[in-house]
């Protein structure tokens, strides 16, 4: 387990470094970073000043290393729009995004795992078909459109929930449903196939031969093994949700990091964009790393020996 953990840490660091290079190079996509930073109304004088101030005249690798050094200390410079340290801006917005992410994940899991289990217990039954139908529909529904339709229904036609803002828990209900619903098909399918696999396994037959109650067989013996791949998927899906939060927060004007990302992109506020991009990627890397560890711990075949 120690060797495994060490290997995973090295891999995570390498991935993080590669990502940081990609994020850094984003500025150079346009050709001249100084022009990109200065914005459209800038004079050539302004551009020259920026070039000097940011050190764009230095060799690229020196620039990268100093950027990386600063980033490692949480120093991403000032937002070009707010004239505030980027880090402060993000820290202020992150709790909203995390609240949304965690509640959406909870919603998705609470909805999909019982459905997946039921679908596996009664294959081809009404429940199974309904679950499959929901999965097929869910995968084909653009999240931003689903969000707008929910607003039309529950904020205008039948006004029970607010359409935008982030002041109370009620503002989080619709965004949670949209973001969470998007992840349910994947969870449901994985739970269903996992349970089907496990339920037909020899050790389930053994458990039944011992006279164990169906409840014990299902939850102690089957779900425990079927759930292992779901843990990995949860980490991956949380990463997708962070990306999806850009769309959902924009639709619902939820003042989180995703909304900030979209605003900053529209305003060409590159230091902020880079910081959020890096942050979301790092979160994904850390989450998948933790999921792998949890996975290894859940599976004695990796944990022991």
């Amino acid at each position: 387990m120690l060797v495994y953990t060490a290997k995973r840490i090295v891999l995570a660091i390498l991935v993080a470094l590669t990502i940081s290079m990609l994020v850094f190079s984003l500025l150079y996509l346009s050709g001249d970073p100084a022009t990109a930073l200065a914005g459209e109304s800038a004079t050539s004088d302004d551009i020259e000043k920026i070039r000097q101030a940011y050190g764009f005249d230095r060799p690229v690798w020196v620039q990268y290393l100093s950027w990386l050094g600063n980033a490692a200390q949480g120093e991403f410079g000032n937002s070009l729009y707010f004239r505030l340290p980027v880090w402060e801006l993000i820290l202020e917005r992150l709790p909203t995004t995390m609240t949304l992410g965690v509640s959406a994940m909870t919603f998705a899991i609470v909805l999909s795992i019982p459905l997946g289990v039921l679908a596996a217990m009664f294959p081809n039954s009404l429940i199974d078909r309904t679950a499959l139908f929901m999965a097929v529909v869910g995968q084909a529904m653009p999240s931003f459109w689903f969000a707008l339709m929910l607003i039309v229904l529950f904020a205008f036609t039948w006004p029970v929930l607010p359409a935008s803002g982030s002041d109370t828990w009620r503002h989080f209900v619709l965004p949670t449903i949209v973001l969470g619903y998007y992840a349910t098909p994947a969870f449901m399918r994985l739970t269903r196939t996992g349970m089907l696999d496990v339920l037909s396994s020899d050790y389930i037959r053994t458990a039944r031969a011992k006279g164990l109650r169906p409840w014990t067989v299902l939850f102690k013996h089957a779900l425990r093994n079927a759930i292992i791949p779901v843990v990995s998927l949860a980490a991956v899906q949380f990463g997708f949700m962070l990306g999806g939060s850009v769309i959902i927060e924009t639709v619902f004007a939820l003042h989180g990091a995703g909304f900030l990302a979209w605003e900053s992109i529209s305003r060409s506020d590159f230091p902020t964009v880079q910081a959020i991009l890096l942050l979301f990627s790092l979160l994904y890397i850390v989450l998948t790393f933790l999921a792998d560890l949890l996975n290894a711990w859940l599976d004695p075949r990796i944990r022991v020996g």
Binding site: A209, L212, H221, R224
Partner: protein, 334 residues
Amino acid sequence: MTEPAGFSLDVENLTVSIPLAAGTLRAVRGISFRVNQGETLCIVGESGCGKSLTSLALMGLLPAKAVRGADRLTLNGVDLTALSERQMSDVRGESMAMIFQEPMTSLNPAYTIGNQLEEALRRHRPVSRAEARERAIHLLEKVGITAAASRLQQYPHQLSGGLRQRVMIAMALMCGPDLLICDEPTTALDVTIQAQILHLLRDLQREFHMAIILITHDLGVVARMADRVAVMYAGEIVETGTAAEVFAAPSHPYTKGLLQCIPIPGRTKRGEHLGSIPGVVPSLIGEIAGCAFANRCPHAADACRSEPPARDLGPGRMVRCVLEPGAVPQMEPA
């Protein structure tokens, strides 16, 4: 009708059918037998003859699609066909237990050996964890596992196949069942381990006064273990009797054919052809007209087109064939 004293399992006209798109697969076609306390019944036959489904039917562990029928299925006088699934689960593991062919996959990889052993007892008896643990260690020692106490902490993947099968046996014995059903318990194991496990089963049977139903395709196993033998072919029992009777005077052409397939050291000459039974088992979908073995039988005659009679050859001795016992000539080695 008076029940005999002590334990017994009585099976009359047991059927297992599986509805399929192509028709109903009648995998077990009305078999009857009886097992008494301390006795070993070997059910022998080639794969697909319905012997494994028979064992699952006794345990009430058939796949959801399969349908069980029986005129009589009683354990110690209790009618198993009348039990609800819940009541049946009280019987499983308590008075009848089962071990399976694949020790490698029959234990849950997520839990320790101890956990899985203890739960078998605690499901049926109001005992503490410590008492269950005590019993588990005791039984692990009984099945010949050394350092039993420390094994309880181990996971299945840390044990070899032979050890896992011993753990499975210990688990089946946790509640001291009256009947142990063993479905090909040694097929997946190395030959040397096979002998050890069979030996162990015999010893345990003597000690616990269990009845054993041993399902196998291996006549060598039958010869070592059986008090009585039931030979199954195409979902039917074609011959039963004590092991001595069946081995000494096989009365069904199929039994004869099976016996000729095993080499006997000292008697079978080097290079000599072993027997084999030509042809294939008929499809078990729908009815089979007449004797199911007729298409492979060297003695098939017109009479075989009708249902062969179940000839009573004395107490507990039956053969299902049109030929008079003794009239079956020795088959030529093929």
